[in-house]
């Protein structure tokens, strides 16, 4: 093993910690690989965990060597920022809370301190205490950096989920024989309304539906584009032999549509999904009754 000079001589405590980290990076990375943070992120290969750990230890060594142990902005962290972000976000993505991630990072400290103490058998107690302090501060800073990167990644995740919410496949619900319904939720932009139209028309054909109910209770804004999409969908369903009923137009939206000057024209509208179902059932029911009486008449 290469000699780096006896511990406790020369250099500041920060420098010594930096040298210790470099000297023992392999041992430290091996120990970290068994801790929750690395174990749960690098599930496939322990070797990858050790490699990632090694990179982080080297970064810490540089930060300590530059005497910036308390500084999350230290340039030394730059090289592992991506790495740390990936580790942190991989953890949070599995549903682990930020405070749990914080604990996970904190759990790396005790084994590292143990190794440090073991590495300084001949040093004066005072020197050991100082070095331990530096390492503790350094590990606290690491935790900060991980949390920071994980949180900003968390914001990106929220944005992504929001986007996905808009893209959620629209379920078509069969309410009755011959009656299907689509509860529309969120923003009805061009892309989504295209999906809605396609799934609805498919359902109309598959279920041989006579009525299709478009419930817009969950659509926050009905502007001219949304109205245009709705009318196109209604027209397409009509071509497939189904009558569309639009339900869930709230009073505020009804007034807005009028002021906007939109003419929903021949589109049948009902206040609630239940009203729309009632309307469709009545119209279907009439047919059924007529058929039944026809049958009775023939007997």
């Amino acid at each position: 093993m290469p000699e780096y000079g006896a511990a406790g001589q020369g250099g500041s405590p920060a420098r010594e910690v930096g040298e210790f980290l470099l000297r023992r990076r392999e041992r430290i990375a091996q120990r970290w690989a068994d801790e929750t943070l690395f174990r749960t992120v690098f599930t496939v290969s322990r070797e990858e965990a050790v490699e990632a750990g090694r990179a982080v230890v080297e970064a810490l060594a540089q930060v300590a060597g530059a005497d910036r142990s308390a500084d999350p902005e230290a340039p030394g962290f730059l090289v592992v920022r991506d790495q740390l972000a990936r580790i942190g976000s991989a953890r949070t993505r599995t549903g682990v809370t930020p405070s749990q991630v914080s604990n996970d990072v904190d759990a790396l400290r005790p084994p590292t301190v143990d190794l440090l103490v073991a590495d300084l058998p001949d040093a004066a107690p005072e020197a050991v205490r100082e070095a331990t302090n530096v390492l503790t501060v350094l590990m606290g800073t690491l935790r900060l950096v991980v949390m920071e990167t994980a949180l900003s990644e968390g914001q990106a995740l929220i944005d992504r989920q929001r986007l996905q919410l808009m893209e959620v496949a629209t379920p078509v619900i069969k309410l009755w024989d011959g009656i299907v319904a689509v509860p529309l939720i969120g923003t009805l932009d061009s892309a989504r309304s295209q999906i809605v139209m396609e799934t609805l028309l498919e359902a109309v054909v598959d279920q041989q539906a006579r009525f299709a109910i478009l419930d817009i209770t969950g659509v926050p804004t009905v502007d001219s584009l949304v109205a245009q999409h709705l009318m196109k969908t209604v027209a397409a369903a009509r071509l497939m032999g189904a009558e569309c009923v639009v339900s869930g137009i709230r009073p505020a939206i009804a007034q807005t549509i009028v002021h906007l000057g939109l003419d929903l024209g021949t589109v049948v509208t009902r206040a609630s999904l239940a009203d729309a179902l009632g309307y469709a059932l009545r119209k279907l029911g009439t047919d059924i009754v007529t058929e039944a009486s026809h049958g009775a008449g023939e007997r």
Binding site: S224, Q255, T256, L262
Partner: protein, 146 residues
């Protein structure tokens, strides 16, 4: 009257996703300034129309939101600005049913009916700014003696 922090903003209008934020911001700002549900919905819908015009016809731009006060009434002023081709014929653009694309042609005229004040500043080649203002008019107390 409390100051309305969170109302003033400048939001980019560069994508469909930005339109979602514009609507959200206008709804929150209007609610904060005391707009009722119907007035909120009207203003949000007008903003949606104008922001989409900024995006589709103006090639992108921004919305600036400002809190304005007249007497004791709160208002929300929204300016939608782009550096696009401009509108050559304002009267025609405001005519219901006129569209240069494949829209319904109801956006501009509809937005004007949905707000209290409406102004267009546009010239061919010089971009377009549409500024609208609506006031949160609260119904007076029934038996209040002044």
């Amino acid at each position: 009257m409390e100051t309305a922090a969170g109302v003033e903003a400048c939001l980019p209008i560069r994508s469909d996703m930005d339109l979602v934020w514009v609507r959200q911001h206008v709804r929150q700002a209007a609610a904060q300034l005391g707009f009722g549900l119907v007035d909120q919905t009207k203003l949000v819908t007008a903003a949606s129309e104008l922001a989409r015009n900024t995006l589709v016809h103006g090639g992108g731009g921004r919305m600036e939101a400002a809190h304005v006060v007249r007497g004791r009434v709160n208002g929300l002023r929204l300016a939608f600005a782009d550096d696009g081709p401009g509108i050559p014929d304002l009267d025609r653009a405001l005519t219901d049913g006129y569209t240069s694309g494949d829209g319904l042609g109801m956006g501009l005229g509809g937005a004007r009916r949905l707000v209290h004040e409406f102004a267009i500043d546009s010239a061919p080649g010089a971009g377009t700014t549409v500024t609208v203002t609506s006031w949160a008019v609260r119904p007076p107390h029934p038996r209040e003696v002044v």
